[in-house]
Amino acid sequence: MRVSVGEKLSNIKDIVEELKSSSSNVGAVVVFVGVVRRESRGRHVYKLLYESHRDLAEQFLWEIAKNIKNKYNLLDIVIEHRIGELEVGEETMIVGVAAKHREEAFLALGETIERIKRGVPIWKKEIAEEGEFWIKDESPPRIQVWVDGKKVEIGDEEGFLKGIISILEKHIKIIPERAKIKISITTENA
């Protein structure tokens, strides 16, 4: 397990080798590479400036890696995040996971990326034709549902209604008759 926040990323091939060599039981290695793109929110981006609280960011990434590794029974996980000035086309981060099977590898990778995108003290500023813009927390409201006092899901769906409806549809079969349903919606976007 390894995390880093710095001005350079490792070679992807080396990360794949590192993950493969973590265990003879590795059956799947999945790697995500984030890239600076030209078009963003209708703006024409020249570059991104990444800033971090490096000590804390590495602490947070370590916690995420540890948590995801346990949750999905991964054999290994590597997270590298870049900071500094990055031009369009440059790589921003690499997340790689090794697992016995591809299913848990894909799930683990997706959740890791979502968690890195919010909560870890790394910030980015777009330098675009239209001006300079800090990218603030874009996470949709967190939606939590309890059925008879038991939390059945924590979701990050797109928008309140879509989230609530999808969660209720997903769990409607397990909701006992006359159950008390409490829906709590919180947002960090205030």
Binding site: E51, T92, K117, R118, W134
Partner: protein, 97 residues
């Protein structure tokens, strides 16, 4: 209660730009609660960057003392005592990736 002196407060990302300073020092603060009160007064109009109209820290603000994140919504900030040389980091939620 013993008075702590000379703590450094660092601001990150757009908070630093909106406040207009990377860091400030405060003397004579004994606890995190005390520090927040003094900071609110000191910032004047710019306190809106960090504080809601009811005086509480905005929900997207994360606060750490000597690299340890403090749960400002759960913890009694009067119990977080400060001493000279402590570094308090005030930052917004992250947007990495």
């Amino acid at each position: 209660m013993a008075l702590g002196r000379g703590v450094k407060i660092r601001f990150f990302a757009w908070l630093r730009e909106e406040i207009g300073a990377p860091s400030i020092s405060l003397e004579g603060v004994s606890s995190l609660d005390d520090l927040i009160s003094q900071l609110r007064e000191m910032l004047g109009e710019k306190s809106e960057v960090l504080f809601s109209s009811d005086g509480s820290l905005r929900s997207h603000i994360v606060l750490a003392v000597n690299n340890v994140v403090i749960d400002i919504r759960q913890k009694n900030l009067r119990t977080v005592l400060l001493k000279e040389g402590d570094i308090i980091d005030i930052m917004p939620l992250g947007s990495g990736g």
